[in-house]
């Protein structure tokens, strides 16, 4: 009962949060300078034309009414129409989302492949050569802007070998994989240092705890100690760590998709922002915020499954 109760409560908690996010997205973009009617109708439109557009969009209604209508539309999956292409924002996002899902999932996978072994080694070899080397590379990784890492990979890997396209996405599975490899690697290089650092700290704090002393005192050692005592206890913080990274990963997707000319939602946000396409920016922002909320929720649930104490700690 206890743990299911926790999950249910956690789900309920996200609802006011979602309304808050929609409100902030709505409000922030309300203060955006510029006349939406002018943007739609064009520079040469007359004042009468503008008024007509305003009436049509309900821009003359009180702000509360506009917010109510916005929430209602969002709940029905209607995110408005792009000022630029005049297409529904939801459709534009739908067209772009699979690229970003590819990038993020491959990127997270690579991040884990890099950072779990390195984090564990750094913790087990604390203050020795391997640890210092891993932390040194971590510092370097933290200082490298993701878009620059991407440029370097293009220069050093894509151009000389010709194995990877310098930009764009593919149609077949193989093409997609080739197109996504370097961008995902770029993402992984940027996010691994955080994960390695956090995993190392979590492992060390577990290894210094009394229950590890207890385990060692009764003769548990080696792989059995790491498996049964260290990893299970470090897994919870590890999951939380990856979840916290989601904010960086999304921003990384925005930057990296632009660097590699990948037609995902990140690139879509940049194009929309450059074109001052307000409904699109609103739509993308909402999407990103929802992803963050969903990932936090998921990580809390996974942590609850991993940690038997959660039911009383809430």
């Amino acid at each position: 009962m206890g743990r299911f109760g926790f999950v249910a409560r956690r789900l309920l908690q996200t609802i006011p949060m979602l309304f808050g996010i929609v409100l902030v997205v709505f409000l922030v973009l309300q203060i955006t300078p510029g006349d939406p009617a002018r943007q739609i109708a064009g520079l040469r439109a007359s004042e009468a034309d503008l008024e007509e557009v305003r009436q049509e969009l309900g821009l003359n209604d009180p702000i509360i009414a506009q917010y109510g209508r916005y929430v209602g539309n969002v709940l029905q999956g209607d995110l408005g129409y792009s000022y630029k292409s005049r297409k529904p924002v939801a459709d534009i996002i739908g067209d772009r989302i699979s690229v970003t899902v590819w990038l993020l999932s491959t990127g997270v996978l690579m991040t884990l492949l890099i950072s779990v072994p390195l984090g564990v080694i750094a913790a087990l070899r604390k203050d020795r050569m391997a640890d210092h080397a891993i932390r040194g590379f971590g510092l370097l990784g933290l200082s490298m802007p993701a878009f620059w890492t991407g440029v370097i990979l293009l220069l050093l890997v894509a151009l000389p070998t010709g194995w990877f396209p310098a930009g764009g996405f593919g149609d077949t599975f193989g093409e997609k994989l080739r197109a996504i490899f370097l961008p995902a690697l770029t993402l992984a290089i940027g996010s691994s240092p955080f994960i390695i650092r956090g995993l190392r700290a979590a492992m060390i704090s577990v290894m210094e705890s009394d229950y590890i002393s207890t385990a060692r005192s009764i003769g548990v050692a080696g792989g059995r100690l790491v498996r049964r005592f260290v990893l299970r206890n470090a897994a919870g913080p590890g999951v939380t760590l990856v979840a916290i990274e989601i904010g960086y990963l999304l921003f990384g997707a925005v930057v990296i998709e632009t660097t590699f000319a990948l037609p995902g939602v990140g690139q879509g946000l940049v194009i929309a922002a450059q074109g001052r396409d307000l409904p699109s920016v609103q739509g993308y922002t909402l999407l990103f915020a929802l992803v963050v909320v969903a990932v936090y929720l998921l990580s809390d649930i996974v942590t609850a499954i991993l940690d038997p104490r959660v039911e009383i700690d809430t």
Partner: protein, 291 residues
Amino acid sequence: MTTPAFEAVPDVPQIVEASLAEPGAWRRMPKKVWVGLVIVALYVLVALLAPVIAPYDPLAIDTANRLASPDSAHLLGTDELGRDIFSRLLYASRVDLPIGFLGALLPALVGTILGAIAGFFGRWVDTAIMRTADVVQAFPAYILVIVLVFALGQGSGSIILAFTVLAWVIYARIIRSEVLRVRDRDYVQAARVAGLRRLRILRVHVFPNVINQTLVYLPNDIVFATLALAAFSFLGLGIPPPTPEWGAMIAEGQPFLRTNWWFATVPGLVIVGLGLGLSLIGEGLEEGLRA
């Protein structure tokens, strides 16, 4: 369950946290702090002296000499408009450094003040400030920066403002908990009894104790602010052209990667160098102050 840091050595009395105000504290700092300080000082020096060292006007267009390779006249060649890349790199430090530093200092300042107020005055003031912090923290920070900069318009002012709105929270939390810890100690109680005014107690007794905590986070936040600024400019959402900025220069150079590889890569190296210097300071301070 949180595990106290000193649990591993329960029999040893906790060694008092060092303070930078203590005599000799700087001498005990690990070497990396000094290496980092030298690197950062070099960048600051370059920014200050840019007009003196730069061989060309960073904005001077020379269409006859576009995309030149490095030679004795142009150390790093020229860009698409024939502007000297080396001079632009030097001048860019006058944009990236101040925004990076301000983008971290301002949140630290605001956060420190709000955190101290929340911790010291408590009650509804505390509640109001910390609830606001919760709300801000619930949002994905970088995405919100994009939205804020979109709403406020491009330029250094809105970027710094966006950073401040988002990044004050962590400092407020650190300082608040530190104030709560220090507040009930004997010497602060004694100061209260002696009738010192609250502000004076804050200034004399609380701030010197909490400033170290802030210092540890500051260098890392400068790195984040600088990297974010470069990223925004790279995306065409930050500092508008023609002002030279490292991230924007990388974007300008990327189309010419095949022929003029140095154009896009060297500005990145410059960013990495600054980031490394700052990270070294941050990590060194952390080791030195918490040991």
